[in-house]
């Protein structure tokens, strides 16, 4: 009995200390995330007055207005399109790079650093540089190849140009995570496969991928979340007068314009609530789907 009591005490002590140590984070989450989230949902049922004064309750009318808004429907499409292009391509490229840079290559640290560098730079700075490179008149790309392509102002290709920047800046981060995953894979599996005479591709497909599937799953989930919230690149590159605006503006961009340019806080809250629902739905589907392909042992 005495022994059990002592164990209980230590357990309770651990429990208390655990809470104390996570308390700052929990407070931060509640104050900075949970409270604003709930007040945003609350605000989406109001028509806001100037400077947030004199709000009037309008029920669901912001939402009904939303689904009649052509640019809103288009922006859902744009956001999904960006996600579908950006996430798979960046993951495939970084997986291949991780595999290559995990082997014995001369100067692999240098390569790793180079691929990781875009991650260190502020997105706004990246966007400024790419904006200039893409410029149809004075840009680097058109001038080097002597072509005249409206990379960022043609409605049919602008979203791809922007997704390309997203891919470019994400590769390094994904790659580092994948390398970490690859180093966990025991070498005996590969040795056994070598004895059986398996090809390099087969080893990659049948050993590497299943072994690091939890890491791939983590990257997919976080990257999809980030892609659905894409804003900075589009905001910095696509101006309101740009012919490609309707075909590139994401939900968050639309939210920004309506909240901070036109000061329609109620309407813009409704936009982000819809975005939240989309994110919840997609993440839930991913969590259900993971049972089919993610191996935790």
């Amino acid at each position: 009995m005495a022994k059990k009591g002592l164990k209980n005490l230590t357990q309770r002590n651990t429990f208390m200390w655990g809470w104390i140590l996570v308390l700052p984070t929990v407070i931060g989450l509640v104050v900075l995330n949970l409270y604003p989230m709930l007040s945003t949902i609350f605000q989406s049922f109001f028509k806001t007055g100037d400077f947030g004064r004199g709000n009037t309750f309008v029920g669901l009318s912001n939402y009904s207005k939303l689904f009649k808004d052509k640019s809103f429907i288009l922006s859902i499409g744009n956001t999904l399109k960006y996600t579908i292009i950006e996430v798979p391509i960046s993951i495939i490229i970084s997986l291949v790079l991780a595999q290559l840079l995990n082997g014995k290559i001369k100067g692999k640290d240098i390569y790793r650093t180079i691929f990781f560098l875009p991650m260190v730079v502020a997105p706004a700075a990246i966007a400024m540089v790419w904006k200039w490179m893409y410029n149809s008149e004075f840009g680097l790309i058109n001038n080097i190849f002597h072509i005249s392509v409206n990379w960022i102002s043609s409605p049919s290709i602008a979203i791809f140009s922007i997704a390309f920047i997203g891919i470019w800046s994400d590769i390094g981060y994904n790659m580092i995570l994948f390398i970490a995953g690859l180093q966990e894979v025991p070498t005996d599996y590969y040795e056994a496969a070598d004895i059986d005479g398996a090809s390099g591709f087969r080893k990659f497909y049948n050993i590497t991928i299943p072994m690091i599937s939890p890491m791939i799953f983590f990257v997919v989930v976080t990257r999809v979340l980030a892609a659905l919230k894409v804003f900075d690149f589009i905001y910095m590159i696509i101006s309101r007068a740009n012919p490609a605006l309707e075909k590139t503006q994401s939900l968050v961009y639309l939210f920004y314009t309506s909240a901070f340019v036109e000061n329609e806080y109620g309407y813009s809250s409704a936009i982000v609530v819809v975005l939240l629902l989309i994110i919840l739905l997609i993440t839930a589907l991913q969590l259900i789907g993971q049972k089919k392909w993610v191996h935790y042992n």
Binding site: S136, E137, N150, A241, E262, N263
Partner: protein
């Protein structure tokens, strides 16, 4: 358990110390008048150097320090709105006709009527009345006029010489501009005759409307004038310009602003507000190759008008440094400071009769053109929801610029959207 309690005590103690010191600092700044810094926020980086110089004079004279912050136009209004909501506006800042009414009606700007009356340095009659009027509500003044601006036509002399054309004269018509633009446009797309972006109302197509005796917004600010017959007539010029294919595509114009296109020799002509001077003075290419003339006039009515506007120096209604902030604004509005602002080429000043210094500040440009445009000025169209309907009508024009609809259709569509937005004010 004792450890936990002591930990909590330490945390809460240090927290109170942090907050307490924060409070006492605030208290101190409210009471002491010496040695305090007045925060100033503006949006135009081209004016920064000049304004800083004038504020330095102010500090030497009064001992009050100022801290100037530049925030680019788009972010400026986002930031100002956010700081207004959290009661944390800068002490002194620029106000614009587009937003003035909204800020005044919500009591965010300090009422300076009495201060003006008591001041021995300021006589409100010395400034352009319409600009004073922009920043007053129910007979009370909420800002002092800073400057006045008009629009004129910039052109590339080198391209005119190469094409063997005479430079734009003071009595050009809009049709002549189009004819010359055709001559100047090169078929390989390396040079375009003219550029005018869809969202350049003040510096562009609003002037065509006014020249034809049309209007953008009615005098009572209740209805849109975009569907007015005269407006539509004036906008035929715009349709002709678009049909003549003398401007870069909307793609190019949206990627590179007009000043970049002129400064890189991509376009031969463009219209700009007088506030662009400080940027153009520093641009080597423009200084060597370009000059400025009056805007063209309407062939039928003979009107040669310019939209005009002026900024105001406003003070936050909740500033803890009211006296010092007023001293800053008062100083910036004195005749001496206004003359200095003009002489330095920062902008034309709102103080009447100070334009000579501005005209002479860049001898290689014919700046008299901007002063001459003051002969027929039309106030910058504004109302409480100005930002919103400006964006709405620019979006409509974008469709016309891209050739999806005609300019006339865009005007009608814009009028409807604008009326709907005004109705919600």
């Amino acid at each position: 358990m004792r450890k936990i309690i002591s930990l909590f005590l330490v945390i809460s103690l240090s927290a109170t110390m942090v907050f307490a010191s924060g409070n006492s600092e605030k208290e101190a700044s409210k009471t002491s008048s010496n040695d305090e810094t007045v925060s100033v926020m503006i949006w135009d980086p081209n004016q920064e150097a000049g304004i800083k110089e004038i504020l330095a004079d102010f500090t030497t004279e009064t001992g009050i320090k100022t801290d100037i912050q530049i925030v680019s136009w788009n972010e400026y209004w986002t930031l100002l709105e956010a700081s207004a909501k959290s009661n944390d506006l800068p002490d002194v800042f620029w106000m614009h006709a587009n937003s003035a009414l909204k800020y005044m009606e919500n009591d965010l700007l300090l009422d300076v009527t009495d201060k003006i009356a008591q001041s021995d340095k300021i006589d409100i009659n010395n400034y352009y009345e319409d600009i004073t009027e922009l920043y007053s509500l129910d007979g009370k003044n909420y800002a002092l006029p800073k400057d006045i601006d008009t629009i004129a036509l910039w052109y590339n002399k080198t391209y005119f010489d190469e094409a063997g054309l005479a430079y734009p004269t003071d009595d050009w018509t809009w049709d002549e501009l189009i004819e010359n633009a055709k001559e100047l446009t090169k078929s390989d797309g390396s040079v375009y005759g003219f550029t005018l972006k869809n969202d350049n109302g003040q510096g562009g197509w609003f002037n065509m409307i006014n020249d034809a005796n049309g209007y953008v917004i009615s005098d009572d600010k209740k209805t849109s004038g975009l569907d007015n017959p005269n407006t539509l007539k004036g906008m035929e010029t715009m349709q002709k310009l678009l049909d003549a294919k003398v401007m870069p595509s909307q793609e190019i114009m949206s990627e590179s602003e007009a000043d970049v296109l002129l400064g890189s020799g991509k376009v031969a002509m463009a219209t700009f507000g007088s506030w662009m001077l400080s940027a153009f003075k520093q641009n080597e290419y423009i200084s060597q190759n370009c000059d400025v003339a009056r805007l063209p006039k309407d062939a039928t009515t003979g009107r040669q008008s310019s939209v005009y506007n002026g900024l105001g120096w406003a003070i936050s209604a909740n500033t803890p440094r009211e006296d010092s902030a007023w001293k800053v604004v008062e100083y910036l509005s004195t005749k001496e400071a206004q003359i200095k602002q003009a002489n330095l080429g920062v902008t034309m000043s709102a103080y009447k009769g100070t334009s000579d210094g501005w005209v002479n500040c860049a001898p290689n440009f014919n700046l008299q053109a901007y002063i001459d445009m003051q002969d027929d000025m039309v106030m910058f169209p504004n109302s409480k929801s100005g930002v919103k309907w400006n964006n709405a009508i620019y979006d409509c024009m974008k469709e016309a610029w891209m050739g999806q609809i005609t300019v006339e259709e865009a005007c009608i569509k814009g009028a409807n959207e604008m009326n709907a937005i005004i109705a919600e004010e």
